[in-house]
């Protein structure tokens, strides 16, 4: 099973080819696409089974690909604890996404399914690439199908949204490309293997620029404030599956990029920019929450909530300690599940009512109890209620943040916990509670079997990850440790360690102030 990763990545591609030659029978096309995505998912399960909790890359394949001029690019793939779950998330979300627009997309089903599967190839490829160049290829490859998904099957303003999405992302990633080239030449002759670039010992000035270039690309993708405005547009216009994938996986590309590339590659710059990134994340959390609160469109609200959630992820990642990063990683997956589920939910009511305005709804609980229950569970997962997945991630992020230098930021970010409750519950209340006054809403049907089938795995995951997150954390722990070492190696070397464990005396009676000068970075 040495080639399992390639297999997983390219099964969808095979599906694309299969779909290309198939007749335009919508049911058949949907079925085949679903089958392909399910096969991919099943295949990816074997990754979890065989994955060993060690820091090394596993299932590595390294095949020479391009060797011309001064460049060596390899088809070098592999996963570690960080990418494992993202790969699984991708394969897990895909069948759900395909099912989600089973009936909503009636036109050009063939192209639609092809786009979805191609998108999957891109996403999986990006997660498993260990070669920067290969990563970049997959990274860009994702854009095209997503662009079409938004642009062809989207809402009214879809073209604007699609083009904005494409160009916005493109600008960032192209600058990253320049940085990749620069990095390559800095590293001297060789290939684009990322482990070659770790620990390169670049001077801080260079790191700064390179980090900025990488960070821009990733920040746009995350999206971090103030690069977020493409997201509400893209989400609002995209069809349900598009939104789901966008939220569940594509946004993770940004955060994943930070973890995999920006931080370990440029430790000094990471240290330098941590306050900035944390500030932006906090602004993003508060800002997006406030903006989300005032939204009139459910989907836009969820989109803004994504911005806030990913702000948490960023805080966690830049806390650069075990809890923070593990929390960030978990939060990525959680966000994928719960926000994906939220988009599905929005999709359900949109399919029924062809509107997403909050004011058009109200009192749906009465008419759609199952829907209400599911919606409620997902809402609370998104809010981060203990027992659901959202809590574990959020908690670890905040804990990690609090332990690190980012304490103040973390406290501010914690306010997002309150704000998220405000906007999510307000929305929930306006949609689900109250009088069922609108006659159009009085004839709504509750979820059908397919829709329940879509939501069930997500709901299960919400609880599984909330109640027993240990296996998830355990698998990623060694990789995170390695990452922390990589991302801190320079910092540790250059910063004189403050004395560990200052003697803790029994404080005398009275009210001594907070002891000053704690060793903040004493790890």
């Amino acid at each position: 099973m040495d080639y399992i990763l390639s297999l997983i990545t390219f099964i969808p591609l095979a599906g694309v080819l299969l779909l290309l030659v198939m007749p335009r029978n919508n049911a058949l096309l949907r079925g085949v696409a679903l089958a392909v995505s399910l096969i991919t998912f099943i295949a990816s399960i074997s990754l979890i089974c065989e994955f060993k909790s060690i820091a090394d890359y596993q299932f590595v394949e390294n095949i020479p690909w391009i060797a011309a001029g001064s460049f060596r690019m390899n088809y070098h793939v592999g996963i570690d604890g960080i990418s494992l779950w993202l790969v699984i998330l991708t394969t897990f979300i895909m069948p759900i996404a395909i099912l989600s627009t089973w009936t909503a997309v009636e036109e050009k089903v063939k192209e639609y399914m092809i786009c979805l599967l191609l998108l999957q190839v891109g996403m999986l490829g990006a997660f498993i690439s260990l070669d920067l160049f290969l990563f970049y290829i997959f990274w860009e490859l994702m854009l095209i199908p997503m662009y079409f998904i938004i642009g062809i099957w989207g809402g009214k303003n879809r073209i604007y949204a699609a083009v904005k999405f494409f160009i916005y992302t493109m600008v960032g990633s192209l600058l990253m490309l320049v940085a990749i080239m620069y990095l390559y030449f800095k590293a001297g002759a060789g290939d684009f293997d990322i482990s070659r670039f770790y620990g390169l010992g670049l001077d801080p000035g260079t790191q700064t620029w390179l980090f900025l270039a990488f960070a821009l690309a990733f920040a746009i993708k995350v999206p971090m404030f103030p690069f977020h405005t493409w997201l509400p547009d893209a989400h609002t216009e995209a069809p349900t599956a598009g939104s789901v994938i966008l939220a569940a996986v594509l946004l993770k590309m940004g955060t994943y990029g930070f973890v995999r590339f920006a931080m370990p590659l440029f430790p000094d710059a990471t240290a330098r920019f941590t306050p900035l990134i944390a500030t932006l994340s906090v602004i993003g959390i508060v800002y997006a929450s406030l903006v989300a609160m005032m939204q009139e469109d459910v989907k836009k609200l969820v989109a803004y909530s994504s911005v806030a959630h990913l702000g948490f992820v960023m805080i966690g990642l830049f806390a650069l300690n075990q809890q923070g990063i593990a929390g960030g990683m978990l939060q990525m997956i959680n966000h994928g599940i719960s926000t994906g589920a939220l988009f599905l939910i929005v999709g359900f009511i949109y399919e029924r009512r062809h509107t997403r305005l909050i004011s058009d709804f109200g009192g749906l609980s009465k008419q759609m109890p199952i829907f209400a229950t599911i919606f409620m569970i997902v809402t609370f997962s998104s809010v981060g209620l203990p027992g659901t997945n959202g809590f574990v991630g959020e908690f670890l992020v905040l804990l990690g943040g609090f332990e690190s230098k980012l304490r103040l930021w973390t406290i501010l970010a914690s306010s997002g916990v309150i704000l998220s409750a405000v906007y999510m519950l307000w929305m929930f209340q306006r949609v689900m509670f109250g009088e069922l006054s609108n006659p159009k809403n009085q004839v709504l049907k509750d979820l059908n079997g397919r829709e329940i089938a879509i939501m069930t795995p997500l709901i299960i995951m919400i609880f599984v990850m909330g109640i027993y997150p240990k296996p998830f954390i355990d698998k990623m722990t060694p990789s995170i440790e390695k990452l922390i070492v990589q991302s801190k190696q320079k910092q540790v070397a250059s910063v004189v360690l403050p004395p560990m464990n200052m003697a803790i005396q029994e404080m005398p009676a009275g009210h001594p102030a907070l002891p000053t000068g704690h060793p903040v970075e004493a790890k």
Binding site: L290, M293, P386
Partner: protein, 668 residues
């Protein structure tokens, strides 16, 4: 038996799952109600077993931790799904499961015929489970699950009548305010965890481990920060100033909910939490003072509002807030056992009061419904003289009222008196103690007043109900009255397990069993307390007798005023309101706190959100993005006019380009 502690939350969880998943199909209310009630009753039985076993153990062996499964393990952070049994948590589980069982039973009758009956029971069970997790959690995080879980259930249950907008609003308000508290809780947790870990290398959130490491914590300083944060959490959960406004609104929920959640159990979580971490709290004198002051302030503040409300449940709600204030006053003055004691007695009598009011409302509702009247079934102005038609309700209600008013012999007297005495005598806050005591006493007076006002308006005097409905008034069924009776009984006698020493001595040295029981829990806290304890008021039996007598007098004064105003001289309240209209309006409108919050937080947030969205996001951020695009496109539109189509212009550009290039190189 201890090993089976996990059964306690499991039963309600099962009840929740069964009712939640299949309740709609079962349809039979008896079955659903039976499942729900049995589930919690099962927990009650297990709790009893545990209590028995614990009683049989020596005090040193009464702490037991049961790890169910590892939950979040990450780096040096460890949080297991684990339960802690010690005298404190046993008290709590007894209260929760006991009162919970009764309320479940009651609900079968009360909720009869409601749409979503199964939903109600499943939520109720879920609540019990969360509450049990809260009290049983052996670390802060498990406690936090329960902490948020009860918030969730409170949200669900307040919003039970979701088609009413007010219910939805109230539910949301409750949850959000709770969240504000939770935010505090989390920050407190982080602070404690980080400080202990970073400075003492004790990376833990486990209560027992913290307890062991508590000596490493400084007095004040970081502990103040952490405990204040925790206290913010407590104010949210326990409806203290400044986060109390949600509780009265929470009365939108069905009455059993008010009884269980918003009187007996959930709202006391803050008190319990402080008790659970007494060894940390007491290390910060500042926090202790803040707690005491906030508690006293809340007690008096809510009591004043309670005097002017006409909605029967709202009066009780403010009374709850006020009583919680008493508990915090106790905690803040270091009278942990007394606080917990009051918590317990309060659970009895307040649950009884709520259920009684529920019984009244139920009857009113029934009567009004049959009379096709749209009068408010909860407005006391529509009641009066109910004692005749509802004797059992009346008697139990009266007993509980006496208990809450603090008449000797009833449970409330013992606990409240203990609190007032300790507030006065505990050696922590110097002269402030007397003020605290004074406030407490006045609040007690108010309590007696508004509670008896309630009784008088509801059960005495003429029957003001719609004449047509009068004939339909009758006593509630047994399933409702049995819990009332049990609770009434408990409200009457529950206080005897915690007889004040003074009285105990009178009866041949009966010890304060309750305090003894909790002593090992709070021992350490008391020890830390001595570190900075100033000399309080002298522990003087005469003084104590005096104060005790004083408080009785105070209660009687309150009752007398109520009697005067609402039985003897009925136009007095009207006179009073017309004499001080502004005051009355302010009190009636809860001192405009909600409006103040709207003004201070809600509206600014909304307008800020609106501004950020429409002003900043759309105009500035997106404006820049689109602006760049527009500039580029505009540039494109402008530059395309360079292509004039004229050869000579093109040639000119070429020539000019050449000249420019040449010029650049020659003259540079």
């Amino acid at each position: 038996m201890f090993d089976n502690v996990w059964l306690i939350p499991l039963f309600p969880l099962l009840g929740f799952l069964i009712n939640g998943l299949f309740g709609k199909k079962i349809k039979n209310e008896a079955v659903i109600g039976g499942i729900g009630t049995l589930a919690i009753f099962g927990s009650f039985l297990v709790s009893c077993g545990i209590l028995m076993e614990m009683i049989s153990r020596t005090p040193e062996n009464r702490v037991f931790e049961k790890v169910l499964f590892p939950w979040i393990h990450c780096g040096n952070f460890k949080a297991d799904m684990a339960f802690l049994l010690d005298p404190l948590s046993v008290v709590m589980i007894m209260v929760v499961t006991g009162v919970g069982s009764l309320i479940h039973l009651y609900s079968i009758g009360y909720m009869h015929g409601e749409e979503g009956f199964y939903r109600f029971f499943s939520y109720l069970n879920l609540f019990c489970m969360s509450m049990l997790l809260l009290v049983l959690g052996s670390n802060m995080l498990v406690m936090f699950i329960g902490w948020e879980g009860v918030g969730l259930c409170s949200y669900l249950l307040i919003g039970y009548y979701f088609h009413k907008k007010s219910a939805g609003d109230a539910a949301k308000k409750a949850f959000v305010m709770n969240r504000v508290g939770d935010f505090g809780f989390l920050v407190g947790l982080f602070t404690l965890y980080w400080w202990l870990g970073d400075n003492a290398n004790v990376w833990t959130i486990n209560f027992m481990e913290i307890k062991k490491a508590a000596h490493l914590l400084p007095y004040g300083g970081v502990v103040t920060v952490a405990t204040l944060c925790f206290f913010v959490g407590a104010t949210g959960k326990s409806a203290q100033i400044p986060l109390f406004t949600w509780l009265p609104d929470a009365m939108e929920g069905p009455t059993p909910v008010s009884a269980l959640i918003h009187a007996a159990t959930m709202v006391t979580a803050g008190v319990y939490m402080i008790g659970r971490m007494s060894f940390v709290f007491i290390k910060s004198p500042d926090t202790m003072m803040v707690i005491a002051v906030v508690g006293a302030a809340t007690a008096i503040f809510a009591a004043t509002i309670g005097t002017a409300q006409n909605d029967i449940k709202r009066v009780l709600a403010y009374s709850t807030v006020s009583q919680l204030g008493f508990m915090f006053l106790a905690m803040g003055t270091g009278a942990f056992a007394a606080g917990i004691f009051h918590l317990m007695t309060h659970a009895f009598f307040k649950a009884c009061l709520f259920l009684g009011s529920g019984s009244v409302i139920h009857a009113m509702h029934y009567a009004l419904h049959h009379a096709h009247s749209h009068d408010d079934a909860q407005d006391m102005r529509n009641m009066g003289g109910l004692r005749k038609s509802m004797p059992i309700t009346f008697i139990t209600f009266l007993v509980s009222t006496i208990a809450i008013a603090g008449i000797p012999g009833f449970s409330g007297f013992f606990s409240k008196d203990e609190i007032l005495w300790q507030a006065f005598s505990n050696p922590y806050h110097g002269n402030l103690n007397i003020v605290l005591w004074g406030i407490g006493a006045i609040a007690a007076c108010f309590t007696a007043f508004y509670m008896f006002r309630l009784v008088f308006m509801t059960f005495y005097g003429d029957c003001r109900i719609n004449a047509k409905a009068k004939g339909h008034l009758h006593e509630s069924p047994l399933v409702i009255t049995i819990p009332l009776m049990v609770l009434g009984f408990l409200a009457a006698v529950g206080g005897y397990i915690g007889l004040p020493k003074l009285i105990g001595e009178l009866f041949g040295g009966i010890p304060n069993y309750f305090e003894l029981w909790l002593e090992p829990v709070f021992e350490q806290a008391q020890e830390y307390g001595h570190h900075y304890a100033a000399s309080g008021a002298p522990h003087n039996a005469a003084l104590e007798w005096g104060l005790m007598g004083g408080s009785v007098v105070i209660a009687l004064v309150g009752i007398t005023i109520a009697f005067t105003m609402y039985i003897k001289n009925r136009d007095l309240p009207g006179k009073f309101t017309s004499t001080f209209p502004a005051l009355h309006r302010a009190v009636y409108n809860k001192w405009y706190i909600d409006e103040l919050y709207d003004f201070l937080f809600v509206n600014p947030c909304k307008s800020l959100g609106n501004f950020l969205w429409k002003g900043f996001d759309v105009l500035v951020v997106d404006g820049i993005v689109n602006g760049v695009a527009a500039v580029v496109k505009g540039g494109s539109g402008a530059f395309r006019y360079t292509a004039t189509g004229y050869v000579h212009n093109y040639a000119f550009v070429m020539a000019a380009g050449t000249v420019a290039i040449l010029g650049y190189y020659i003259f540079r």
